[in-house]
């Protein structure tokens, strides 16, 4: 139904400019970022005559590594550790966000592709929009965290007797967080307090409940608290056993403590 593509079918530069014509004029926004996570950006490939498959290759996940903060400056880390500790406090029921390693998770996320806004469209123009139109900011997540934490500490300087967020009593920290959540606390530097709070809360829950390879959910404590057994492949034997507690031990993508000893 189509003739084979011939080498001379390639459009030369002059022809290409002519073809695109005026459409290219006035292009705002982003140039293509070099390489994305997952899709677009690999070399173009042609397949014919077989299913392409190469042994020993897998699109395995990139986990977090190392220790200490890469992204957060000390003052930022102090804010994040305190905030995460209030969003998910620690008690005997289960780990808090801090105990589960959420700040480390956030640090690695913000230092990497997510922080760069790899799956965000950040081109302009940037009007505020309606709540229904969702995230409307020029900031990548990393830029938003940096700007927001600085703006919150500036707000703190004019309120709550000028103390840093992490020095406040827990109930005052909660007051600030509620003010961000509702948008009642207005921040400068172009930071929308509700947008930031929403992202911080979402990312905190991500760090709390995601697979431990990303640096949070330490010892799968959050999963154990709710009763999620983790990344099991097969529950068939449990399907008809209505109402019974599944006795499988909790596992992550890299197994579980003690796995290698059995």
């Amino acid at each position: 139904m189509s003739s084979e593509e011939k080498p001379d079918a390639k459009v030369h530069w002059d022809r290409r400019r002519f073809l695109i014509g005026g459409a290219i004029a006035g292009v705002g926004g982003m140039a293509a970022a070099a390489i994305h996570d997952g899709e677009l950006g690999g070399p173009a490939r042609t397949f014919r005559g077989s299913v392409p498959w190469q042994e020993g290759t897998a699109d395995a996940p990139p986990g977090a590594s190392g220790s200490g903060y890469i992204f957060f400056a000390p003052a930022e880390a102090a804010f994040i550790e305190a905030a995460v500790g209030r969003l998910i406090p620690n008690d005997e029921v289960g780990p808090g966000g801090l105990e589960a390693g959420v700040p480390f998770f956030l640090d690695r996320q913000l230092a990497g592709r997510f922080g760069r806004g790899d799956h965000y469209y950040l081109g302009g123009p940037w009007p505020k929009g309606t709540p229904e139109q969702g995230y409307q900011s020029r900031f990548s997540p990393a830029q938003l965290y940096r700007a927001a934490i600085a703006a919150i500490e500036k707000y703190m300087g004019a309120n709550f007797n000028g103390g840093a967020f992490n020095k406040l009593a827990a109930e005052d920290q909660d007051k600030v967080l509620k003010g961000l959540e509702s948008g009642e606390i207005k921040l400068d530097a172009g930071v929308d307090s509700k947008s930031f709070f929403e992202m911080l809360l979402q990312n905190t829950k991500e760090g709390y409940f995601s697979d431990p390879i990303y640096g949070g959910n330490k010892d799968m404590g959050a999963w154990k608290m709710i009763g999620f057994p983790g990344a099991h492949y097969n529950y068939k034997e449990w399907v008809p056993r209505h109402g019974e507690r599944v006795t499988y031990p909790t596992v992550g993508l890299k197994g579980r403590p003690g796995w290698t000893e059995t």
Binding site: G29, E39, H119, I226, F228, A231
Partner: protein
């Protein structure tokens, strides 16, 4: 040639290669296969796939702009939310749930059927622009059947050749055959839902599913394995060859054919037309190195997602763009969606183990879908299926907390810890009628990385949808209460459409089908009325959306188009329906 290589691209590729044609498919995303890209060793990763969009379209490269009505300025969808668009080989067919439905016979006559039963106002109130499809269920049945056999769909027929069958959906259109494989075994929550629904006199049945209950070999020789209920299905690729997808059902056969060529990382910019605009000569595409090519073709099949197909029609100047002010023009008209709501159910005494799930693990009632119930005096048309559904218990997304629970803090944590194992959600999967003000066109301001205008979506739920959804959510709550839980929580469909919370990736319309060129963009074989060697696949053809997941109907329409192209078009290329 094929533009886009998901379900419809794979179906058309297979059918047309079987007819002996040389087929080239251009896919803008990468190659993907089960063993490499979603192996069981790492497929169950909620953060990477759901929240970091690893398999989804990257909006940094291409997004669309959105507004609720003509008076607003459309702004770009800067992050995926309401719908999770696919990309790459298999596209949404990789990360769909596997919910395989047929629309009701009356769904294909939305206008004439409702007008006859409820009067003219029923289809014109609220500025509705619903219309008939120009096709009947009976015409489409063999092609629904073909897709069921391809996938090995697991389910129980409710209507076999006009005879109602116990255990199936008594409201469905007649099937020519039983499902290829038996229904999945129901987990606890769907079972409780089914019992309660039956006590209320409803007609529960197992959800038809492309997550297979047992091993199956399809007519192309592809083998699928039995589902292991791992609970990572929707939004994920299946590492177990248990979910029907282009990869598991078609590609082993199609990729081996010498008359089929697939080019990945190649994005079609537009369809090129002859100077009289009556014939497509091929497409212009650009690869990931930025090199631009012209691909000549005798026939161009738009087999990308609906939003891309409609955009390519608009960018290529095929058909006349719709103008909501005058009501003239057709391309972009009747964009619709799906009207979703839910009821969360909380028990004290029942361990539900929500992590034991599958993409279509549900017991369903269809008593209030389409026109399966009397709408007299209700003030709306359409309906929904109501499903006690447990697709998994992925904890970032799927922790339900009772009414009034804060979103964070100790109270939230305790509610999560107490309710995770003992709660689930009843979903209400509602239709969405078409409306004069809901449409797709090209954005005047925002451009993609190629310099082309983005697609602009103007959409909001209308009075008809709000009334329908409220009525149906109340019906779902009745079943939920009949399960004797500690408490329930109603999540009604309130307010304007928002791009933020995930709802469903069931976008429809914009390249609608019909019986003549005055009311539609394509004929019933999905062939452009204006440029007969261009075919536009997918849910863009739906004149309005029914209360079911669209993939079964999308696939059936593709098979029907392929059948007609093979039977008539190839010998005599030209319009398959005379205007």
């Amino acid at each position: 040639m094929l533009v886009g290589f998901g379900w419809t691209g794979a179906i058309m590729g297979q059918e047309l290669c079987d007819a002996g044609l040389n087929v080239v498919a251009l896919e803008r995303g990468p190659w993907r296969d089960t063993a490499t890209d979603f192996a069981t060793g790492f497929a169950q990763d909620e953060l990477r796939y759901m929240w970091r969009h690893h398999l989804f379209q990257n909006v940094a490269d291409d997004t669309l702009t959105i507004r609720n009505n003509l008076n607003q300025e459309a702004l770009p969808m800067r992050h995926l939310g309401a719908f999770l668009l696919g990309t790459g080989v298999g596209s949404g067919g990789v990360h769909w749930n596997g919910q395989i439905w047929r629309f009701l016979p009356s769904d294909f006559q939305t206008k004439s059927h409702n007008q006859q039963r409820y009067g003219k106002k029923s289809v014109s109130d609220h500025d509705l622009t619903v219309q008939d499809w120009g096709i009947t269920y009976d015409e489409l049945e063999p092609f629904y059947d073909q897709f069921d056999k391809l996938c090995g769909t697991s389910g129980k027929a409710g209507n076999l050749n006009g005879k109602i069958q116990p255990g199936g959906n008594p409201f469905e259109g007649p099937r020519s055959n039983e499902y290829p494989t038996p229904p999945m075994i129901q987990t606890y929550a769907p079972t409780l839902f089914g019992k309660a629904a039956a006590e209320l006199g409803r007609h529960p049945f197992p959800h038809p599913t492309g997550n297979l209950s047992e091993a199956y070999t399809n007519p192309l020789g592809a083998q699928l394995g039995a589902c292991t209920y791992c609970g990572f299905c929707e939004k994920f690729g299946c590492g177990n060859y248990s979910k029907a997808s282009p990869q598991t059902t078609i590609l082993p056969s199609l990729m081996a054919k010498s008359n089929f060529t697939l080019k990945t990382e190649c994005e079609v910019l537009r369809v090129e037309l002859t100077p009289d605009r009556k014939r497509a000569t091929g497409v212009t595409y650009v690869n990931s190195a930025g090199e631009e090519f012209f691909q000549p073709a005798e026939m161009v099949i738009l087999s990308a997602y609906i939003l891309q197909n409609v955009r390519l029609l608009l960018l290529s100047g095929i058909g006349k763009p719709y103008d909501p002010k005058t009501g003239e023009g057709l391309v972009g008209k009747n964009y619709a969606y799906q009207t979703m709501s839910s009821v969360n159910v909380f028990f004290d005494d029942k361990i539900l183990n929500p992590f034991i799930g599958a993409g279509a693990m549900a017991t369903v009632i269809d008593d209030f879908n389409g026109d399966n119930f009397d709408h007299s005096g209700l003030g709306f048309i359409g309906g929904a299926y109501i499903a006690g559904m447990v697709t998994g218990g992925r904890p970032i997304e799927m922790i339900y907390t009772p009414q009034g629970t804060p979103a964070w803090g100790l109270e939230w944590k305790h509610a999560a810890a107490n309710n995770y194992l003992r709660s689930f959600s009843v979903s209400v999967h509602g239709s969405c009628m078409s409306h004069r003000g809901n449409y797709l066109d090209l954005d005047p301001t925002y451009r993609d990385i190629h310099g082309r205008p983005m697609l602009r979506m103007t959409f909001d739920f209308t009075e008809n949808e709000h009334k329908m959804s409220d009525y149906l959510t109340d019906r779902a709550a009745e079943v939920a209460r009949a399960m004797n839980p500690r408490e329930i929580k109603l999540n009604r469909r309130a307010g304007s459409f928002s791009i933020k919370p995930y709802q469903t990736t069931h976008n429809t319309g914009g390249a609608i089908m019909g019986d003549n060129p005055k009311n539609s963009v394509v004929n019933k074989y999905l062939q452009s009325w204006d440029v007969p060697n261009v075919f536009s696949m997918g849910a863009g053809a739906f004149p309005q959306n029914a209360g079911y997941n669209p993939t079964g109907t999308v696939a059936a329409l593709a098979y029907q188009a392929a059948h007609e192209i093979r039977a008539r078009y190839l010998n005599n290329p030209g319009p398959l329906v005379q205007a």
